[in-house]
Symmetry: D2
Subunit: 153 residues, 4 copies
């Protein structure tokens, strides 16, 4: 077996500053198919919930992600991170909070918190980093109307 | 909308030291259902591949994860991270490398690299952090025979 | 290669009689991760939507499926069928209609229709057949209060 | 709530004739993420396994499905059915048998059996019906070289 070619380290020191006013909240519910044999929602589903969250963030800013893609801009995921604090069970309702953490023409960072519906206890938190490409995966820059629209309160 | 209650930041500075000899490799292939409308494997699947990887790591060390759970030890995912470098397409074969990055009685860290089958180009890399619990989600300590078995070359 | 041992044929002649009053409707939306490289929702997701549908059917009859399982009754899927008429695209809203097609102490059949939100055009239809078991997969009979509750208009 | 507009019934009387010599077998294993809280593989995964199966069927006939799509032919799923006989558990290896049940220029039917690795006991069986379209979802006819290739023993 060969030696690992990568000497990369994960000093992914993204320091999020989520204590801002500008975020949106949506409610979701755990599907039966999202549980695993441990009886809780499987870890991969959180990344699907993050994605649902940013879709709704864009929609609520009146720039549906569908339209962003239709204009030829793709927000390709280049990093994804989740920290799991409390398990989620079948049929449990929870809140997803979505924060636009950073937006430049070339890069967008969304942060997320999942909290319980009643007491707003933290279930999980995380972020996704996106670069902007065209449909052929070549990097390009987001136009101001999209940047400004997504930043608007 | 309320202010975020969390002031948490993600200074998840895990510095991986993957240049070690002790890792295993398995081959996987992209399923049609794992692609999305961008024509590439969806980001959540990588976390499923990481999981397949650590299952195989444990098996190759003669401690199938199934048996670890049967003995009452659960390696619960508390953090998961992935960095995406190159897209994967339908029916593409690739290699998953799994590294046991750290193991203590209370905590296990696996690191992963996905590389192309031919040129061993990096497709993605990441890690998962696990705590050890019993079937009731209470923390407990891994016994030496499991720790030693998983560390064995 | 060996000859197929099964001479089974699929004369699954379930003739559904869905023209009844007693059904419920819920709205769903296609997630990005549910699309595939053909640009439409992947065929397996329909079975997940059917499941979400029957969960909501039970809830609206005041017998959440979670409670049915908590009482020791499992509605195990023994058959699943879907007929696909019209594709669904990312971010498209649609309606799931759920019909309790048949219920006896030992067997439950749900039927489903997916229709477009605006014109109620048929997108897909199907059914699932369930047997009743305990938590050890042994068959048992549903009690009258669950049968009557699920049948109630 | 409105009356169901569909008077459709599911007399899907496909009588399969799987006792033929011409089928292929592949081995698969249940992923942790494919289990649900009942502790067994979730019903939707079987349709993913069927798909992996037909991908491998095409490959073994030297007509990778990827190439079929590259030539502008899409085998769109219009029906899918599965009958579940025995549960599958995490890390269990099993065999998928794939049968080309029927092929005409406009329509292809695959049948499937999942059997245990050791005793070849039936786990599940099912079929998928496909129509042939171009990339714009318009029906078209498969050329003879694809039909003959897929039929070849």
């Amino acid at each position: 077996m060969r030696k690992s070619q990568s000497s990369e380290n994960f000093s992914n020191k993204i320091v999020l500053n989520k204590g801002k006013e500008n975020f949106i909240e949506i409610e979701e519910i755990v599907r039966y198919s999202e549980t695993d044999q441990m009886g809780v929602a499987h870890n991969k589903n959180y990344f699907e919930w993050f994605e649902i969250g940013r879709t709704e963030y864009c929609r609520q800013k009146n720039i549906p992600y569908k339209n962003i893609e239709a204009q030829g801009y793709y927000l390709v995921v280049v990093e994804a991170y989740c920290k799991y604090k409390k398990p989620l069970r079948y049929d449990e309702k929870f809140i997803i909070r979505i924060f636009l953490e950073k937006i430049t023409p070339k890069k967008v960072v969304f942060a997320y918190e999942l909290v319980t519906k009643e007491d707003k206890e933290l279930i999980a938190s995380g972020y996704t980093v996106h670069i902007v490409t065209n449909s052929k995966a070549q990097t390009r820059s987001l136009p101001p109307h999209i940047i400004d629209g997504l930043k608007a309160s």
